[in-house]
């Protein structure tokens, strides 16, 4: 284990999350099962009191897990000097490649689900009768399971990264000629794929921003949910497609250009050499996730009193999406113009 303030923080938060999610997840599942059963008023009051306690503690745990995603990368970054051969986070990920890859895949999913749950929670708190409580508890028990796996993974990873490990870094892997990020666009656009890929990114990104803008300006968010849901679902799918193109174009075109290293395609190096690109990524992730959160809020939030508030909340979520996606695009353009 590499001992520093960040690794200790990661382990502390991991242990805390494990303990609290085991308790919170189990309790929310029990409460979920009890919630609908007819009960006496005093039993109902006791259930409500317990649910408030669980929600209060789990809200704190989930907030910690939201922060955990960036903290995970900051901690890996702090290990670079202790791993021989590591020049960026990629090198550190090569010490325990399987576990690190799994966590890198799990963390955005957990982040997305926690964010979506928080929006439902905020929507439910705005009502007087808490119509979303049962759904919230059920979703909380599922999220708890993911948080538990994520936290255990963090603990095992941090404990398992031994100092003085010898690894190869990104140059020997991300820059090879048959890397998938090169062969995929090459299959569509041929050997001169860089320019078409760049144009495709701008088209899809602008189209996504434009469609969100039209959705906000038109009455799409006020129409009946049966007509609205497919539109929001398609928008979410389009946002996922855009994220895929964003990733490809970043690795193949924009990252090398921003780093002034035309043959190097490592995004971890980009964050290291061009730190303000992290803000661009943050905006992009929040924008894309907001589109998804709009869809999940519509999917789970349409019940009782919450239905009346839904369109107003959806409007706010899509404004966020619009703002963040536009901000990430502006940051990218400023960078390309200044370089």
């Amino acid at each position: 284990m590499i001992l520093n303030a960040l690794s200790i923080t990661m382990i502390f938060l991991g242990v805390l999350s494990v303990l609290l999610t085991i308790w919170g997840g189990t309790s929310s599942l029990i409460l979920y099962r009890k919630w609908k059963r007819p009960s006496r008023p005093e039993e109902k009051t006791s259930l409500e009191d317990r649910s408030y306690l669980i929600l209060l503690i789990m809200v704190i745990v989930l907030l910690v897990r939201l922060i955990n995603w960036p903290l995970f990368y900051i901690t890996l970054q702090s290990f670079i000097l202790d791993i021989e051969g590591a020049m960026c986070i990629f090198g550190v990920t090569q010490v325990k490649p399987g576990l690190t890859r799994f966590l890198e895949f799990l963390k955005p999913i957990t982040f997305f689900l926690i964010g979506g749950w928080f929006i439902l929670h905020i929507l439910d708190r705005a009502t007087k009768t808490s119509p979303l409580m049962r759904r919230k508890l059920f979703l909380l028990s599922i999220i708890s399971l993911l948080v538990l796996i994520d936290s255990l993974g963090d603990i095992f990873l941090i404990l398992g990264i031994a100092p003085e490990s010898l690894v190869s870094c990104c140059t020997t892997i991300t820059d090879i000629l048959n890397r998938p990020t090169r062969t995929t666009p090459e299959a569509f656009f041929g050997p001169e794929y860089a320019h078409p890929l760049q144009v495709l990114f701008f088209i899809t990104h602008l189209a996504l921003i434009g469609i969100i803008g039209i959705t906000l300006k038109s009455k799409t968010l006020e129409i009946t949910f049966l007509r609205r849901r497919p539109i929001l679902g398609l928008l979410f799918l389009f946002a996922i497609l855009n994220a895929f193109i964003f990733l490809l174009s970043q690795i193949e075109v924009f990252a090398p250009r921003m780093m002034h290293l035309p043959f190097h395609h490592c995004l971890y190096c980009l964050w290291q050499y061009v730190p303000d690109s992290i803000a661009m990524y943050l905006f992009f992730i929040l924008g894309t996730f907001s589109v998804g959160w709009g869809f999940t809020t519509d999917l789970f939030g349409k019940i009782g009193e919450a239905s009346d508030l839904l369109s107003n909340y959806l409007r706010k979520i899509y404004w966020f999406a619009f703002f963040f996606l536009l901000a990430s695009l502006i940051l990218l353009i400023i960078h390309l113009l200044l370089d």
């Binding site: 021989e84 051969g85 590591a86 020049m87 090198g91 010898l166 190869s168 870094c169 990104c170 140059t171 020997t172 820059d175 780093m259 002034h260 290293l261 035309p262 043959f263 190097h264 490592c266 190096c269 290291q272 050499y273 061009v274 730190p275 303000d276 940051l331 400023i334 960078h335 200044l338 370089d339």
Partner: protein, 139 residues
């Protein structure tokens, strides 16, 4: 202008100024780094390409330089490498290249060593189970 809009405008101006300053700083910091992957160069393992237009490209290792070589081949006028025992820059065509168990630049696991004198290269081969390799910068 309403106070909210004023704050947003100030925030945007602040972001743009930070980006401009940040980009200039990045450009400065990247000047002393490898032109392939941006790593800080250890002068004893460096490789230098002089291009037809007189500009110079520098690399942290033979590995990074040889990966760039194929793409830059047509523009390269001269390749210079560093003799490990003395630290002197020599033309790649006059150098002896040896591959051994010793890793020079760990992040690319570079095992190719450069020598100006044949006897130094032979000593290294005997000491570290090395073998001769061809000049990687032959066009």
């Amino acid at each position: 202008m309403p106070p909210n809009k004023r704050w947003i405008t100030l925030f945007i101006i602040f972001v743009i100024i930070s980006l401009v300053l940040g980009c200039q700083e990045e450009r400065k910091s990247i000047e002393s780094r490898c032109d392939y992957d941006g790593v800080k160069i250890e002068p004893i393992y460096a490789v230098y390409f002089t291009l037809q237009d007189g500009t110079e490209k520098k690399f942290c290792s033979i590995a990074c330089a040889s990966m760039s070589f194929s793409a830059l081949k047509k523009q390269i006028r001269e390749v210079r490498v560093v003799d490990e025992p003395s630290g002197n820059k020599i033309n790649a065509s006059e150098a002896f290249f040896v591959e051994s168990d010793i890793v020079t630049v760990p992040h690319v696991k570079n095992r190719i060593h450069v020598f100006a004198k044949k006897e130094d290269a032979l000593k290294h081969i005997q000491k570290f189970k090395g073998n001769w390799v061809e000049n990687p910068f032959l066009s």
